[in-house]
Symmetry: C4
Subunit: 258 residues, 4 copies
């Protein structure tokens, strides 16, 4: 059971842009991509499963369970062309798993006509600011120049951890162009250690992405959606804290009975 | 050496219900399934082995060693139909292992005609109660409605960790209906950190399962069996505490000699 | 690169006994098997390599490096028949690795005519004793009865961790008879946390094994050999303590430079 | 996705020497090999990728991202013959990964005509010294004798951890001769726990290697290059310390949102 992409519908695209936003600091990537999927009514075309996700199932508000997974949504845009959105409720649990999932995704993307990859993430600063900046890196200097012209602040000499970073690096290995847009955030956390969603940073990133892709999105409902997610995260953080004991008990201290 | 199902006897069932109960909080799932296997004199039809179990062997009361494993028992019931029970003396050690074993089990179950999966587990509350509730989740709202009608209290917005949860999620991925029944417990632990067996919670879960499956089981000897298990667990907990040092010594600090 | 058995010489045996003794508490198993290999001038017939060994190489007294590995030695005895000894300078690093190596070994053993497995190990007690006991477990009650008749004290309700235990359990899964003989020891450790070699416990185990297998071994040089090993272990423990920092530095904190 | 060698150019060598220097204590191995690659204008002929590298991408000074990887450079020397240099920005993250990468590399090397392996590393002493010694180990006594004649101080009874050590051990397993040259260093670390580059130790190692291989290298710019690397490492260490929190957050505490 390796990372597995279950294709629900062949996308049949000659060239598409892949936009990835997984849960991470301040949920900027995830909020951005989830918001686009909703606003653009993008179609669910695939699901990604892996044994490298954390070992639990979620219970939804309606009492129904859901396995952790990532999802692929397709949006065909008259101006921006075909876009596939990649998001989900979790990153992989282990380093090897993060490589496996990013790698499996890119294999599929290359086989199906990807022409460029955008990864949306967060960049924590302690700068005092009115409006968050959008930082950026890319797989080539030329790409980065194009970003700078649009107002993206280039990063230098650092690293981007997790799948949001690996997707770029593994794209470059396949000679696929990739860009990472990072929303400036303070990275505030709840007392239980979970990030607050930063809707403003997400909005800044989305505005930049829309500009680059020539995509029209109504940003109105974004903050409202962020607020809804914030409440869910707060509740989930409580649950997780309580269940973390169980989990470590069942995973780390194996139970046995004669 | 992946997770391996050693089939001792082909079950030749047109449609069966899979009832899973692995060791976990308060041993509710394990006690329930072990009790049913014993009371119904279900037949051992398969064994599940994996390198993801903890790396030791058990020594039984009679001095004979036993590899950690899970077991499949078949019961053919005139009213309830065919039931396969899944239990054992351990869950997998690592997250990947928990996925692997649950996945391997469900591959076998789907190939052999499973029509529904029941997972039995525990739900810790700090509510003061006379009689423990039975909580529940399911893979669809319709299923959950049926549970509610029988008195199951639906859970919402949480998570179920370990194989007891993954079995449901992986069933849903395969379009197999699944239900989790969770016995309410206080989750008391021994000084050495092991859960006390909660026979009352187990009884509540079993009564609900019997009602749903239309299964007749004599609940008389349950508390006696639980008491027997409690003594064994206490003894094992002592042994485990003492041997944990050895184990971590041999596993984590690799020994070597020139 | 799975666990790999490099056969140096086909053993061509119709039926052999496998005697396993890996490094563990008080080095009883390893000392016993190494001693037999030396005294009986058993022939090196195979080497076992695995990525699950700890990630370093040993430097011998003469400055020459050696990869960690396990070894198979063959002794053809007029009275006892063919015996294959399994030992080496390390157990696997991870639980999965311990399963993999024990499993690979038993696949080879079954393919080549193994009829019984003996695992030599340690049993820590805090009993005051003049002569160490030999404890035992087995894969069947009949086998255990035979051990008891020879003076072995049966264990009950415990567990045996690591490869010394898994070898028995995995043998039983293949319907191969297996016995574990455990020398009683206090399990004393050096200040740096390494076990002292317990030559007396090893001698007790070897005497019992020789009795069971009808094997003649001169026990004279055993304590001398143990003393030699003790000095080596003390030196190695020093080196290991010093190098442990390096190792955790290079393994856990990955180094990188632009 | 196992460790993968992407060959950019067939080396077509009848017999070559492999010189390996990965990041480790005091960056002696890496600095040495990077310096030789630069001074000798060795040609990039291959890249090594693996899911066992740490899960992040580097951002270069120019804002462009780079996946972690190891590299193979070829230098054809009139006197010294063909030399392939192996280096990169990281060792593998896990023990299994270190075995996998070293093993994959040696498979390629043996298939392509390697005749001897040199591994360059560090040896920490607390000796007061004017000039650092060069210590050594080898896969045979004969090789070690040759080293001693040239002034290398032989090591005895220790261990060499990480890929720098495994490369030797795995070479020996394939009957390929291997030597490890270790530069004497104090192993000083920055307050944030990173090693200072030890250019003097690197120079000592390089002089010895040049002597053995009959290779002419101008050692002039070495200290200057080391100084440049030192500044980069200091900056990276700052970044890493800041990002380590993020990384452990995204890897260890899996994020999820309903």
């Amino acid at each position: 059971m390796k990372a597995e992409i279950k294709i629900l519908k062949k996308i049949e695209s000659k060239a598409f842009v892949l936009v990835s936003g997984l849960p991470g600091i301040a949920y900027i990537g995830k909020l951005s991509v989830d918001y686009l999927v909703q606003q653009l009514k993008a179609e669910l075309v695939g699901e990604v499963y892996s044994k490298y996700f954390p070992p639990y199932v979620l219970i939804r508000k309606n009492g129904v369970v859901e396995l952790l997974r990532n999802e692929l949504h397709l949006h065909r845009d008259k101006l921006a062309g075909d876009i596939v959105f990649f998001s989900g409720n979790s990153q992989a649990f282990s380093p090897e798993g993060q490589y496996e999932i990013a790698d499996t995704l890119l294999d599929w993307a290359v086989d199906n006509g990807v022409k460029k990859v955008f990864s949306l993430a967060a960049y924590v600063t302690d700068r005092t600011f009115d409006a968050p900046r959008v930082y950026g890196t890319a797989t080539s200097s030329e790409l980065l120049e194009g970003l700078k012209e649009r107002g993206v602040v280039p990063l230098a000499e650092g690293l981007i951890s997790g799948e949001n970073g690996l997707i770029m690096g593994l794209a470059k290995k396949r000679s696929v162009e990739a860009v990472c847009l990072l929303g400036e955030t303070r990275g505030y956390q709840t007392p239980s250690g979970h990030y607050f969603i930063d809707a403003k940073a997400s909005k800044a990133v989305l505005n930049m992405l829309a500009l680059i892709l020539n995509l029209k999105v109504d940003m109105g409902p974004l903050e409202k959606q962020a607020k809804g997610m914030d409440e869910i995260i707060a509740r989930m953080a409580d649950v997780e804290r309580r269940l973390k004991e169980e989990m470590s008990a069942s995973v780390k201290k194996p139970s046995y009975v004669t």
